[in-house]
């Protein structure tokens, strides 16, 4: 075999470096989402100015940011309320969703008995439930928390139960032939295995939880982003309504990022092969 000299190796590495396209570089990748947002706002601003769109129809980003600054106290106060109800409802959804997901995923009997009823229940538009919740609990925080919970627990339940129900039969046999109890099978294999499904569902559940609490606030509340938007549009303060939307979007992205960070830490094994090492067979 021919020897590989240092110069040849260096040259080969240089070629790899030179040929990495701009869009594949790490720093560029990280900057791209921000670039998209900036361009989006730029186009929006330009369109509003170019076509002289009245502010009460579509305010320019500059007007939206100005309104956001002007009403910052009200926005923060209401955003805090929305964040609180959303996170609380979401937290309850995680607990209930995981427990119910385990119960449904580990028993075909429970699955067959409860699943149709759950699907029917989930199909009911949550906005239709809010007035009933108001009758039971009054307006404000409680209906918002419950709506956020109701809308976000189902994706978690479905995913966790899928993760547990799709356990390989051989794996179950291995454990059962060792005398493992049902509980041991779930704790040792079922739950860890369901984690990637669980985190995937968290991202969906998180965003729909915001939908739930804001819908509830729009229907029946005297605080929260939903309430603020209702008041703003009633007063034709359109830039403020848009500012509230913007804040909601930002909160959603932040929560999504938190869920993503957790996912990466806890289920790194599920996303493998990208930067992972693969060993060649030995001997």
């Amino acid at each position: 075999m021919a020897m590989i000299d240092a110069a040849e190796e260096e040259e080969a590495l240089a070629i790899v470096k030179r040929r990495t396209p701009l869009l594949d570089r790490k720093a560029v990748r990280r900057a791209l989402p921000w670039l998209v947002i900036v361009v989006f706002f730029g186009l929006w601003e330009a369109a509003v100015r170019l076509f002289a769109i009245p502010e009460f129809i579509l305010p320019a980003p500059s007007a939206v940011f100005a309104a956001a600054w002007e009403f910052r106290v009200a926005i923060l106060d209401n955003a805090w309320q929305t964040l609180f109800t959303t996170v609380l409802g979401f937290a309850i959804a995680i607990v209930v969703g995981v427990l119910a997901g385990v119960a449904i995923g580990s028993s075909t009997l429970v699955y067959d008995s409860f699943y149709p009823a759950l699907v029917g229940f989930y199909s009911i538009p949550k906005v239709a439930v809010v007035p009933i919740l108001v009758i039971w609990f009054g307006i404000g925080t409680v209906p918002a928390v419950i709506t956020a919970f109701l809308i976000s627990f189902f994706p978690i339940l479905v995913n966790v139960s899928t993760g547990i129900a799709t356990l390989e039969p051989e794996m179950r046999d291995v454990l059962r032939a060792l005398g493992a109890s049902r509980r041991q099978v779930i704790m040792k294999v079922g739950l860890p295995r369901a984690m990637p499904y669980f985190f995937a569902s968290l991202k969906i559940a998180m965003t729909v939880a915001f939908v739930g609490s804001i819908v509830s606030e729009t229907v029946a509340a005297n605080k929260g982003i939903g309430h603020l938007m209702l008041v703003a549009s009633a007063r034709f303060e359109v830039p403020l309504a848009f500012a509230a939307l913007l804040v909601t979007g930002a909160m959603g992205v932040a929560m999504y990022a938190i869920a993503g960070a957790f996912e990466k830490r806890m289920t790194g094994w599920a996303v493998r092969g990208v930067n992972g090492v693969t060993l060649t067979p030995q001997g």
Binding site: E170, D173, L178, G179, W269
Partner: protein, 271 residues
């Protein structure tokens, strides 16, 4: 089988076992199957695909209740899943979130008395697991995750997991079915080494006749579904057997003879 009836030290014994999956209309997998395996014996079960070989594994380990007949293991009738059997399958079923060592240690967390001792004697148990991995050529791969191992290495790790708690019964369901020839032969040798070192009772299900002849003390031939044992052949080749022996004429004759039994049973089977 005359031998079955004079059983004294039989470890596994099936008497006229029937197995039907599901209700009355379900598939009949086993039809009046009778067989016996001695303590410490290595038995291979061969047969055409879909003949109920895997069903046999399920009834012996108690994972499926039999429809009729009796299954006895170690002198007691099996009515619930046994709690000490080491199992390995064609699919390595290693847990991707555990390292190789963690996967091998899994049975110790479940099987008594190990599971209650594990916390205090972790170091000793870990040393045992490392020793076992070294025995199959996986020294140095303890902290690697299974998905970073090759298929053959995963199977080796699976064998270690099946053996870590020193089970008296080892059930292997086509464990080398998905491997290439060279890796398979290497693993035959590894498995033989492991078996000779600890002498568990082994039931190996396979459709590879060479594998059966290489590894087993006795080969049982099953008929097509619904399965039953139609022939039995003792393999007297000396141990340890080597891959080179697999090319000897004696070996080839045995494989040929077994092939004959399977051919006959297929011809006799109702279409």
């Amino acid at each position: 089988m005359p031998e079955g009836s004079l059983a004294v030290s039989k470890f596994v014994e099936l008497q006229r076992v029937w197995l039907r999956y599901g209700e009355e209309s379900g598939t009949l997998a086993l039809r009046s199957t009778t067989l016996a395996v001695d303590r410490g014996e290595f038995v291979a079960v061969v047969g055409p695909s879909g003949c109920g070989k895997s069903s046999l594994m399920k009834v012996v380990t108690g994972l499926w209740p039999v429809s009729a007949g009796t299954v006895q293991v170690d002198g007691t009738t099996v009515t619930a899943p046994l709690s000490y059997v080491g199992m390995a399958f064609q699919n390595p079923t290693l847990l991707p979130w555990r390292t190789t060592l963690g996967n091998v240690m899994l049975p110790l967390e479940i099987v008594q008395p190990h599971s209650s001792r594990l916390r205090r004697n972790r170091a000793a148990y870990e040393a045992k697991a490392r020793e076992l991995l070294a025995l199959v050529g996986l020294a140095g791969f303890e902290t690697i995750f299974p998905w970073q191992l090759s298929g053959g290495m995963q199977q080796r790790a699976q064998l270690c997991r099946a053996l870590i708690h020193e089970p008296s019964l080892l059930m292997l369901d086509e464990p080398f079915g998905a491997l290439d020839m060279f890796t398979r032969e290497e693993l035959w040798v590894s498995l033989q080494d492991l078996w000779m070192a600890r002498r568990p009772t082994v039931m190996l299900v396979t459709h590879d006749l060479r594998e059966a002849v290489f590894l087993a003390d006795r080969v049982l031939v099953m008929s097509p579904r619904p399965g039953r044992i139609v022939a039995e052949r003792r393999i007297e080749l000396p141990r340890p057997r080597t891959p080179a022996m697999a090319f000897a004429s004696e070996f080839a004759a045995l494989v040929h003879e077994l092939r004959g039994y399977i051919g006959a049973s297929r011809a006799a089977a109702p279409a």
